[in-house]
């Protein structure tokens, strides 16, 4: 049994309070970081730990920190709490039940890149999280972990909360920066990357909540300890969110590289009514489906890429044998069509068209050639959009068309579903 690292405090009574956090080793890493490390040494430490971003892209955190310019200019840190990938509910657990672990990680990261102003960008829908953040930040100020001259180190950091207002795309870091500036949350062209030109045109480090929660543990226990967890290229623990057709839905913290089958059967208790698994979404709505034959895949960045999918946010959605995959694709398409920001045509129009065709098939109005039409639409979107949203929308649709082609054909030919019949 893996001893939780990131989630070890969340089951304690009043785990969100600063007193419980302090009584359980909280803010010791900050003390150590500020007094025993130079900023560059922290960047080096995180680079050696192998920590990779937990928001979906898996970019090496140490590298990201290293991209921040060394010059003495105003720099910003942004804590990405815009968790919106369907199936994902890990950041919510950290923010609601252990917000100080994220704040501590954020202060250390800010110190490492010499950012003196930090923001939490939180999804508008997370009103519980907003309350939790505001309380935790106020308490951290009161105890001297935020503000001027933190713990006598001479380092200053201000942290404030910004609420988003209902737009999935704002989880994309450049869209988030525009939203923070009070604009429509539409992605910016990259490069330049936020490390050069970020919030208000200044260097900005943007990190996911879970990524930051790892940082205090790396500072306390060292890079080697951290790198010993997981696989050589996907190091550390990961919070997996399991939902759909399983007995015990919830969050499970396990080393990266844990087999999918272990997570579904040993932790989430398997599938109710002894049903077989038809498909699994391994990393949130934008990751391609896995089939029942692929359950032994280790849940890490490399293995999932090799299996034709992606780790994404680690949001596992289990679909049993009775699930209509055309219906799942339609729901996924509906989400993406709703959330397309509209900035570029292939995504704005393409997502609507895909949804329309899928709705027709699902409603029994499918026509011969619809599958080819869907492939064409995907072809027109993939690689042709302004930001990764287009690829995110196409990936699950394409994989569904490929893996469950017979279900589409049945729908089109018979005007109804083979499974639900």
């Amino acid at each position: 049994m893996f001893e939780p690292i990131l989630l070890r405090r969340v089951t304690l009574p009043r785990s969100d309070s600063i007193d419980v956090y302090l009584a359980n080793g909280g803010y010791r890493a900050l003390e150590k970081a500020l007094h025993e490390f130079k900023p560059e040494e922290l960047i080096d430490l995180v680079r050696k730990s192998g920590l990779r971003g937990r928001g979906g892209a898996g970019f090496p955190a140490g590298l990201k920190w290293g991209f921040m310019p060394k010059e003495d200019v105003q720099k910003y840190l942004c804590v990405n709490t815009d968790e919106g990938e369907p199936g994902t509910f890990k950041d919510r657990v950290l923010v609601e039940r252990d917000p100080h672990s994220v704040i501590e990680g954020a202060i250390i990261a800010a110190y490492a890149v010499r950012a003196t102003r930090a923001f939490v960008y939180i999804r508008g829908e997370f009103f519980l999280g907003v309350k939790s953040w505001i309380k935790a930040i106020a308490d951290a100020y009161q105890r001297g972990f935020l503000g001027k001259n933190i713990l006598g180190s001479g380092f200053n950091l201000d942290l404030t909360v910004h609420r988003g207002a209902g737009a999935y795309i704002c989880g994309e870091e450049t869209a988030m920066l525009d939203s923070l500036e009070g604009k429509r949350g539409e992605p910016r062209l990259k490069p330049p990357y936020p490390a050069q030109v970020g919030y208000l045109g200044k260097p900005t480090l943007v990190h996911n909540v879970e990524t930051l929660a790892n940082v205090p543990h790396i500072v306390l226990n060292g890079a080697e300890w951290y790198a010993s967890i997981g696989t050589p290229r996907s190091t550390g623990p990961k919070i997996f969110c399991v939902s759909g057709h399983v007995f015990r839905r919830g969050v499970y913290e396990l080393p990266l590289g844990t087999p999918l089958r272990t997570i579904i059967y040993d932790y989430a208790g398997g599938v109710p009514h002894n049903k077989r698994i038809k498909a699994v979404i391994p990393g949130g709505a934008s990751t391609p489906f896995l089939t029942a034959e692929q359950l032994d895949v280790p849940m890490d960045f490399e293995s999932l890429a090799a299996a034709g999918s992606a780790l994404g946010t680690g949001a596992i959605v289990v679909l049993n044998e009775d699930t209509c995959m055309v219906d799942v694709a339609r729901r996924t398409a509906r989400f993406f069509a709703h959330e397309s920001c509209g900035k570029c045509t292939p995504c704005r129009v393409g997502s609507q068209r895909i949804l329309q065709v899928l709705e027709d098939i699902e409603a029994g109005r499918g026509r011969p050639g619809d599958v080819e039409r869907l492939h064409d639409l995907c072809e027109g979107i993939a690689g042709h959009t302004f930001c990764p949203f287009g690829d995110a929308l196409v990936a699950p649709i394409r994989s569904s068309l490929k893996l469950f082609a017979d279900e589409y054909q049945y729908h089109i030919r018979h005007g109804k579903c083979a499974v639900a019949a």
Partner: protein, 151 residues
């Protein structure tokens, strides 16, 4: 706190737009033309600029809402747990309105919302600032009953 007070706190006034819009929505009930106008004045923006930004975000409402806004999660995990569309259908019948509409007595507005991150505790629905999870038709009945009693 007034939108103006927020504006003074930030290096760039416009950065406070999302917050100011929340405050205005709270004060005016929805983002009426007057509310937009007031935010624009406070932040030194044109009303068109404010409206353009506001209309991007699904949580800003440009028409009046009911006293209780029911937001049903239509995410995949809610659907797999017998929520989502089924819950929407149930509420539509129960309240006699369609998604996007408000009951005649002004009490309930029914909306759908993208993933509420309640996938582990689905089906989920948000009512104003309360999150309801693990919903069943019986629980929904109880919630509506309570809300009706609390007016």
């Amino acid at each position: 706190m007034s939108p103006g007070k927020f504006a003074q706190q930030d290096p760039v006034k416009r950065s406070m737009l999302l917050t100011a819009l929340y405050v205005a929505q709270e004060q005016y009930g929805y983002l009426s033309p007057e509310a937009i106008q007031r935010v624009a004045e406070r932040l030194g923006m044109s009303p068109l600029d404010v409206y353009q930004a506001a209309s991007f975000y699904s949580m800003y409402k440009t028409k009046p809402m009911g006293r209780y806004v029911l937001q049903v999660c239509e995410g995949l995990s809610c659907h797999l747990a017998e929520g989502g569309d089924k819950l929407v259908d149930y509420l539509q019948k129960k309240l006699g309105i369609k998604v996007g509409e408000t009951t005649r007595d002004g009490l309930f507005t029914l909306l759908t919302v993208q993933c509420l991150a309640s996938c582990g505790t689905s089906p989920a629905m948000r009512v104003n600032d309360t999150l309801y999870e693990n919903l069943t038709p019986d629980r929904v009945d109880l919630i509506l009953q309570e809300l009706r009693g609390g007016r």
